[in-house]
């Protein structure tokens, strides 16, 4: 049934999978840079996608502590591969961003800001946990008393197409963190992949406009039930779980617990967990000075609380040991974050577990704090 009217916000429609190419084209026509999961060098990254064929169809990812394996199983679905190390944060909060350049003219400094056009991204295939992570970063970078101009400009333009997770990976625990696997709110378009068709739930006026003229039908109760069952199954197949009922108190009451020393001895302080974490937001600013000292470029880069220089001040280091840095990270993520922003800083995506070379697994460390007698 071809039709040129637009689906209502909140409604769920069904489209044939190949129709999705038309949606990608529409997004590009509207000036969006379409970014999604892609296979490159035998691993999964987020990169520009032109058409559906670019998506990791037929792939899954096997994930465990310090283990990531992209595997082709030949199934027919496009969105089954649970994301890898990269997250959407690299697009909204870029790892390097030039802030401004200064040049000394006479005795004054003249500033010039880079004239880069703010990109309009369309994120294709944002998982529920990842959407939650974006919303958590919104609270960091777009507060009532502070707005990060770089983040905000990108965030306001972004089109978010979310995907319900049907086959979670071994390090996933979004159910415990109450962020997934079902996408709840904050998307433009949510996609649920069934065996033969895509269900699309409309979340914004922009998405409505986008779908104008695209052939669709409203999803039947049968298909909706099908999707529900898939999500229920996914929720029951989480690779990890974490009891958050006593967080953050558990951590904040145990800041002197001997377990910090134990995990500190295993931690490499390599910064991997913080860099792959979709909510970690620490940054540093550096100057690049010209030889004559009359020009400088100021740049913002990702930083990490595991960087030994991170807490250096006036000649001393506030957190000189790996133990204290690990404790800072975890007590922030699953503790003090709540007081800062009203939520914990973890969305249960499992990246810090998968990508820690030392196999440190917060779903195991937290129970240790509970079990070991003080």
């Amino acid at each position: 049934m071809p039709n040129d009217h637009k689906p209502e916000i909140g409604s769920t429609i069904v489209i044939q999978k190949e129709t999705f190419n038309a949606i990608l084209s529409r997004l590009k026509e509207k000036g969006y840079e379409t970014i999604g999961p892609r296979v490159k060098n035998d691993t999964l990254i987020y990169a520009p996608i032109e058409q559906m064929d670019d998506l990791p169809r037929g792939y899954i990812t096997e994930q465990d502590a310090a283990r990531f394996h992209l595997k082709h199983t030949g199934h027919s679905r496009y969105f089954d591969a649970i994301p890898g190390a990269q997250s959407w944060k690299q697009f909204l909060f870029p790892p390097r961003a030039e802030l401004f350049a200064l040049r000394k003219v006479n005795n004054l400094w003249e500033a010039s800001t880079p004239e880069t056009k703010t990109p309009s991204y369309a994120f294709i295939g944002v998982r529920a946990c990842e959407l939650a992570a974006i919303q958590i970063q919104d609270n960091i970078f777009m507060r009532s008393d502070f707005n990060d101009p770089i983040y905000r400009a990108r965030r306001e333009r972004v089109f978010i197409l979310t995907v319900d997770c049907m086959y979670p990976a071994g390090t996933c625990f979004c159910v415990s963190m109450e962020t997934g696997p079902r996408v709840k709110a904050g998307f433009d378009l949510n996609l649920t992949e069934l065996e033969d068709v895509f269900l699309l739930t409309v979340g914004s006026e922009i998405a409505r406009d986008l779908l104008k003229g695209i052939p669709f039908e409203l999803a039947s109760a049968f298909l909706l039930r099908n999707a529900d069952q898939g999500l229920e199954r996914a929720a029951s197949q989480m690779g990890r779980k974490l009891d958050i009922s006593n967080l953050p108190d558990l951590i904040l009451n145990n800041l002197d617990h001997p377990h910090w020393q134990e995990v500190g001895a295993r931690c490499l302080s390599c910064t991997n967990c913080t860099q792959v974490c979709p909510t970690c937001f620490c940054w540093d600013a550096t100057d690049e000075m010209s030889l004559d000292g009359k020009e400088t470029h100021r740049e913002r880069v990702w930083d990490s609380c595991f960087n030994p220089g991170y807490s250096y001040q006036a000649g001393g280091n506030t957190r000189p040991t790996i133990r204290s840095r690990y404790r800072q990270w975890l007590s922030h993520k699953l503790g003090t974050w709540k007081q800062q922003n009203g939520t914990l800083g973890c969305v249960g995506c499992g990246r810090c577990i998968t990508w820690c070379p030392a196999e440190i697994d917060l779903t195991k460390e937290i129970p240790m704090l509970q079990e070991e007698a003080r």
Binding site: A66, R266, P308
Partner: protein, 268 residues
């Protein structure tokens, strides 16, 4: 010659010349550099030399002969600020492999008449012989770091050099961890950043040429690496590489050999 320009001398000890070449490779920057400093002694670039003393001495290479032991002392006396350039100068470099073996045996294999050679049994970093004001690691050094150091000296400040591991630079450039993703042994988690994560970005493991970072947890890395060894003893050999003479890496390799966790032994 501008009297206010600081004079710079570049010296070579036992090394492959690669670090000096990376200075020459600076292209655009080199012109600016030549503008800002007086390259008074740089044999690789120009035969014209001016007598010392020099404001900045860049020393490439490690100390491997009795003559070099004397020479570095003379250079130190002529230099206000001495920078050890590259992994040979900071840790001994690849020639320091002899420190863990019998150099005489090596010489016999390579030369017909080893008795003509006059060498020391070990290759040692510059800092073991004279006071070094700054060490710039890397095989070869990173030219941006060299420039940063010169800019810092010219502008009377400490250079901004990384304090963190290679992993952070990997992530900043979007490189996927080769250790976790491909099971490739990588010294990145214990190696100080500076190279821009060159090797992992090309799909290879970091071989630690910038040396360990201050708080590197080498024992924990050993444990992680031994799980992905592709052949027995790979982890030990990785530590015994270009920066094998760096104290933390020496300790790590020795620990593997002494505790019997060397998988090479087990399989023998």
């Amino acid at each position: 010659m501008d009297k206010n320009k600081p004079t710079v001398a570049v010296y070579k000890f036992s090394s492959c010349d690669g670090c000096q070449l990376s200075l020459l490779n600076m292209e655009d920057e080199l012109l600016n550099l030549a503008d800002a400093v007086d390259l008074a002694y740089f044999i690789e670039a120009s035969r014209a030399t001016k007598p010392g003393p020099y404001d900045i001495a860049l020393v490439e290479g490690s100390v491997t002969t009795p003559h070099e032991v004397e020479r570095i002392k003379e250079i130190r006396q002529e230099a206000k600020f001495l920078i050890a350039l590259g992994t040979c100068a900071t840790a001994g470099g690849v020639q320091a492999l002899r420190n863990f073996a019998d150099a005489g045996e090596y010489a016999k294999i390579v030369y017909d008449h080893p008795e003509y050679l006059n060498y020391l049994p070990t290759a040692t970093p510059i800092s073991e012989h004279v006071k070094v004001d700054l060490e710039l690691w890397g095989c070869p050094v990173n030219k941006a770091q060299v420039i940063e150091v010169v800019v810092a000296l010219l502008n009377n400040r400490k250079p901004n050099l990384p304090t963190y591991s290679v992993c952070l630079q990997c992530k900043r450039r979007g490189t996927i961890c080769v250790l976790v993703d491909k099971g490739i042994p990588c010294l990145g988690p214990a190696t100080i950043a500076g190279c821009g994560a060159l090797c992992p970005a090309s799909g290879r493991g970091c071989y630690g040429c910038f040396g360990p970072f201050r708080d590197a947890n080498v024992p924990a890395l050993t444990e992680a690496l031994q799980k992905v060894e592709r052949y027995p003893g790979e982890t030990m050999r990785l530590y015994r590489g270009i920066s094998g003479n760096a104290p933390l890496f020496v300790k790590a390799a020795d620990a593997i050999l002494s505790t019997g966790t060397d998988t090479r032994k087990e399989t023998k």
